[in-house]
Amino acid sequence: MKSTRQGVSAALFAAARGFVTALALGVLGLTAAVPAGAAPSGPPIRIGATLALTGPLASTGFVHKIAGEVFVEQINKKDGLLGRPVEWVVLDDQSKPDLTRTLYDRLITADKVDLVVGPYATGPILSAMAVAERHGKMLIHNSFGIPKLAKYDMQFPIYSFGMEPEQTFPNTLLDALAASGKAPGTVAIVTSKFPSVHFLSVGAREVAKKRGLRELLYLEFEFGNRDFGAIAARVRDADPDFLWIGSVGLEGNMLLEALKKLNYSPKIHFHLYPAPAPLALAPEGQNALSLTLFEPHPPFSRFPEAEEFIKLYRERAVKANLAYPEADMQAALQYATWQVLRAAVTATKSLDDKVLAQWIRNNRVDTVLGTLRFSGAGNYGDDLSKVKQVQNGKWVVVWPKEFAAPGVKLLMP
């Protein structure tokens, strides 16, 4: 029996899982490739990508899929690209960076797509970037969390939070809190060690110190932590004015639930990358703060195509039975990716990666996120991040004031 268990390697597990997943999806009638609608004329322009359609990132992967499909459907209803229809070839990367690498290789060498766009999340994007660089393909991506790791000169980040978000974003957040007139005096930072989260939390720690906040607690936990009882007990013991939760997905919810069971509600709580639906819809999520680039209300809804995007996304998300069917930042990131790609192809009348990259580097593009530029270090532009808050079960932008939802202001205890 011992030799039995020892003989099963991780590689075997991964291979078996991939095979069985493919089999299962086939049995269930699901397909990973998503051909887009009817062609305006001529052979389609094929644009390849992977998304996390299964695995731990799948809930956000589906948001990206819906947003991309909305764009492709709309463009095919009009003139397509260069008068040709667009076909989006999407493969399921199962939330795995290693598989993402293989699939991008396949898209470029076997499927021979004309262009590629990025997958969802930092790890898979990093994998796709390496493949794109090897084949000289341009890569527009939309959810890369560690700007300093983006070294390839033909990669373009739609996730516009600047080259040093670990400095700029915590300052934006603390500016918002200070402007409320109830600036916190003490802080507790509880953070996942997930790489794209951890460096931002470390940055927030330094910024808080520089701005004179007294640190009562700093805790790190492993990604995938299941039990937040003891961590909650430590937070309650510290009782800070402001709780920074460096969370991914459900971690913030789990900590809030554990705190609630201790009859404790944090005064001000910020969640870095929360799962939007569970946090907005949970009673303890009220007043939760987070980072965003887009929410479906003015002034964002007045940006180019935004109103139509918000409406169409919502229709599809309701149909897909998503718990939070509003077009939030993740959906807008995917949509803006296509807007930038379309702008470059239309302006250059070319599908040549180098020509497109050159154009993107030298031009600004109006998108649902606002006007994006890619001319800074690492092809990053300005930090466009905003602060959003859960109010009455919905996420709304509260800072900067000019981007706040109409009639909405930051709610403080």
Binding site: R5, A16, A58, E222, A277
Partner: protein, 283 residues
């Protein structure tokens, strides 16, 4: 120096999560110990139970006890059917690992197909209620879960130890040929035990639904630590699984409280390695 309240609260938290480890490990331990099947699908069944609880109690508005009364017998039948298939196709111990892994992925895909990859939360009023005892807070759902885990472990232990069926089961696991010579029908017993193990997965799933937010990929998040619990507790040892769950749960929780949360995952696997080195006969 951590306060007494912090230590007490962390101890409670460790006991409760340990109870869940024990509850999730109970069925796995039984099928591994007595049927020689390493049934990874046990985790998928637990999450299927969680999603069904969400559907029945959350979406359909059924009382949660009624949902349990539907899920547990249904899972018993499912467990019997799985065992019939394992026997029909002569799935051995090593093969069971791969076959049940495949079944896990199929169940995960089915869950995603039915409920999407979106996260689902069963919002029950009583789900976050706590009782205050001195300076400590006792979450009612977790306390109930621990009580159920302890009751099932003790009942299963007593069943295996004192009843004819239990003795036959142990005899059959020890030496199937001799047991058969005494009239023990191993196949029927295996069907019964597999049904019981799957029903336990259904019970665990109900508590998972009440306590946690659900997403299909979480099936795999519990495997490592529950395997450690099952091996530490001894295969087919219901009380051992509960005790191992408590040891790991409390160790992790106290590590988080006194040292740092990042050290917690090391605890369960360090204990596992120590047991494998010092007591290899436990497997």
């Amino acid at each position: 120096m951590p306060s007494a309240t912090l230590l007490g609260q962390s101890l409670l938290s460790g006991i409760f999560i340990g109870g869940l480890y024990g509850l999730l490990g109970l069925g796995l331990s039984l099928s591994w110990g007595y049927l020689r099947l390493i049934n990874l699908a046990h985790f998928a069944l637990a999450f299927l139970g969680a999603y069904l609880t969400y559907q029945l109690a959350g979406v359909a508005g059924m009382h949660i006890l009624l949902a349990v009364l539907i899920i547990v017998p249904a899972f018993f039948v499912l467990g019997v059917a799985m065992q019939w298939l394992f026997t029909r196709f002569s799935v051995g111990e090593f093969a069971s690992l791969l076959v049940s892994f495949g079944m896990t992925v199929i169940i995960e895909s089915a869950i995603q197909w039915l409920w999407t990859a979106d996260m689902r939360k069963l919002q029950l009023e009583q789900g976050t209620v706590s009782l205050q005892v001195g300076t400590l807070f006792v979450p009612v759902t977790e306390a109930l879960m621990f009580a159920v885990a302890a009751a099932l472990s003790v009942a299963t232990w007593a069943w295996l130890r004192f009843t004819y069926v239990g003795k036959a089961m142990r005899a059959s696991a020890e030496n199937p040929e001799i047991a058969a010579a005494f009239g023990v029908d191993h196949r029927r017993l295996a069907l019964l035990l597999s049904g019981v193990a799957a029903a336990y997965a259904g019970v665990a799933g109900t508590f998972v639904a009440v306590i946690y937010t659900l997403s299909p990929a979480q099936i795999f998040a519990w495997m490592g630590v529950v395997f450690a619990v099952v091996i530490l507790g001894g295969l087919g040892n219901p009380l051992g699984v509960l005790v191992a769950g408590l040891v790991i749960g409390v160790s992790e929780s106290m590590t988080m409280a006194v040292i740092a949360p990042t050290w917690a995952p090391l605890v369960s696997f360090t204990l596992l390695i120590l047991v494998l080195v010092l007591r290899p006969d436990r497997i």
